[in-house]
Structures are given as structure tokens and as C-alpha cells.
């Protein structure tokens, strides 16, 4: 046998000699592992029986999440008849009615379609409250109105009376109509007559020449 082979063999014998590290490790494991198996078995048998382990919950009526809106509709549509008996419709991306007492519905991305003498017209707004008893939509923020004939108007913060087809502003507004851009303390517009009345330091600016449609 070569010299290296003899050296390797003696090393290995030394490692595996009785009372060495390896020998003690194996002795310990020989006793520890079966004990661990027994313990695990015991736990698995006893654990479900103990009362603490039962998983359940109590639904508490007060703590659960309550939806206080009374009614929530997405892509809602409301229909009605205006004073001259023609139908109109208000469609909205989402409509929320908070309480039963107030006939007020909060609309988002709303579009009102009405019929005028000279054809259909449309009002679009970002957000508004529709009072379906008085058929009035009061719009917060910008609103634009356009008729089939190409008449367009943009303004802000107005109440739309769908029955009488009139707009009424609550405060100072500015906007644009084919004639030009306007601003005033209050405006009222008759949609079928297409007339806009500006009240209180009214300003109108007409730029002859090219048409700037709102």
C-alpha cells in the first residue's frame, strides 16, 4: 500500500475511533430523534382537544363596517318629463343617495339630455346633486351645454332646472358662449330660448373674426 494510502487510512480510523466526536454525536442522535418523534405525536393528538385551540369569532353588530349610504347605483339613469311634457334623462357614472328623507342624489360624471324646440341638447358636468322631486340638478364646478344646432355654453356652479330648462347661477361665474366670453355676479340662462342674462358688473368680450367654440 502506498504511503499516502496508509496515512489516509489512519486518519479515517482516528475519526471513527470509539469515544471520538463522531461516535458521541451518533450516540446522542440515536436517543434524541426517536424522543422527538414521540413528542410530536403527543402534541398532534392532544392539541385539538385543549379548549384554547378552537378557532372561531363573534360577529359584533356594532363593530362591523356599516355602509351608511342608503342606495348606491353605478351608471344610473333617471328619466322624467319637463314642463312641456318632453322626456329628459339624467345619466351618471355613479349615484349615491345618502338618506331616505332628502330626495337628493349625489351624481358623478353626469350627463343630462333634454329636448328643446330645435332638437336635442346635452349638459355634462363632473359632479352634481340631483333633486328628483323638483327635477333640479345643482352642479358643482364646470358644466358645458351644447345643442344639436352647434350652440355651446360653458360655465360653472349653476342650478339646472330640467323642467323649465333654465340655468341659474348661485354666485359669480364666468364662461363662454358663441358670442364670446362672459363673467358676471350672477347669470341666468333660458336653454330653449338660448338667451343668457348676466346680472351685476357683467363683462362680455367679443373677438370678431374666427369662431372660438367653447
Amino acid at each position: 500500500m502506498t504511503e499516502q494510502a496508509d496515512i489516509m487510512r489512519t486518519q479515517r480510523r482516528g475519526f471513527a475511533a470509539p469515544g471520538g466526536f463522531h461516535d458521541k454525536l451518533v450516540h446522542f442522535l440515536a436517543r434524541a430523534l426517536p424522543a422527538a418523534v414521540g413528542a410530536l405525536l403527543a402534541v398532534m393528538i392532544i392539541a385539538p382537544l385543549s379548549p384554547r385551540g378552537e378557532i372561531s369569532f363573534l360577529l359584533d353588530r356594532r363593530k362591523v363596517a356599516v355602509l351608511e349610504d342608503r342606495m348606491q347605483v353605478s351608471s344610473a339613469m333617471y328619466r322624467g318629463l319637463d314642463d312641456s311634457g318632453r322626456s329628459f334623462s339624467v345619466t351618471a357614472g355613479s349615484a349615491v343617495q345618502k338618506t331616505r328623507t332628502v330626495p337628493q342624489i349625489r351624481l358623478d360624471q353626469l350627463t343630462a339630455r333634454i329636448l328643446l324646440d330645435d332638437g336635442p341638447a346635452m349638459l355634462t358636468a363632473g359632479r352634481g346633486d340631483y333633486n328628483f322631486d323638483r327635477e333640479i340638478v345643482d352642479v358643482v364646478g364646470p358644466i358645458n351645454f351644447q345643442t344639436a344646432g352647434g350652440y355651446r355654453m360653458t360655465t360653472t356652479n349653476v342650478d339646472i332646472d330640467l323642467g323649465a330648462k333654465r340655468l341659474q347661477s348661485r354666485g359669480p361665474v364666468e364662461g363662454r358662449i358663441p358670442a364670446g366670453t362672459f363673467s358676471a355676479d350672477a347669470i341666468s340662462a333660458d336653454l330653449s330660448e338660448r338667451s343668457v342674462t348676466l346680472e351685476g358688473n357683467a363683462r362680455l368680450r367679443m373677438v370678431p373674426g374666427k369662431m372660438q367654440m367653447p
Partner: protein
Amino acid sequence: QHLFAQAIANHNSNAPVNYEADRIEVQDKAKRVVLSGNVDIAQSDLRMRAARTTVAYTDANGIKIDRIDANGGVQVTRGNENARGDVAVYDFNRNVITMTGNVALRRSGDTLNGGRLVIDLDSGLSSVDGRAGAGGSGGRVSGTFNVKQQN
């Protein structure tokens, strides 16, 4: 009789027009704007003030103002020229302002009074004549001019 007074020429009647009033009513069907309550209309250097005015416009392809009728103590100022009268009509197509009813024209010291004043905005020529309103009989025209003292 006609008395002519030279003024700044070529007013651009296509310049933007700004209206200010207590109440403005825009009637789109009638293509008319009715203004009332110390009306103040400004177009580049021309300015017209009156109690009530009506603007007739067309918006076939782009806004075009046809005429402005003003009444109730009308005052037209342009540069150093200041004209006063009862009724004024600004005709955009002929670019002429016609004022009638005890008209007084004042320009840097000179004054001209008469029945009717016609301001031609293209040539800047303002002429006052005695006819009071629509072709009345020959009224008087009076005026004062201060002449430089050659001493």
C-alpha cells in the same frame, strides 16, 4: 353747414370689443346683445359709454359685429377727441359713428356743437352738421377754436 375736424385715422373695427354693464342679455336666436345700466364699451382706443346699448352681430363663420346702437347720454372718446350726444350708432361695416341730438364734439380745446356728428373712423374725419337727427331743417352749428398767439 359742415365743419370738419381732423383726428387720428384708421380705427380697426375688427379689434376685440369689451363690454361692461350692470346687466347684459345675450339673445343667441336674435343674434343680439342688450346692455343696460352704465354701459361701457371699449374697442382698442375707442370707448363708448351710454345708459343702454344694443349690439347686433352675426356668427355665421366667426363673430362679426354689424352695429351698436347706444342711447341715453352717449359719450364717445377716442384719443383726445370726446363727443357727446343723445343717440349714437356705430356702423361696423361703414366704420362710421353717427351721433344725433345736441351733439358736442371736444378735441384738445376746440369745441363743435350741432345737431348731428359723423365720425368717419377710417379717415378720422369728424364732421358736425346742423341737421338735427333724420334730415331736420338746417340747424345752427357753433364752435370755438383757440388759435396760437403769434406775438
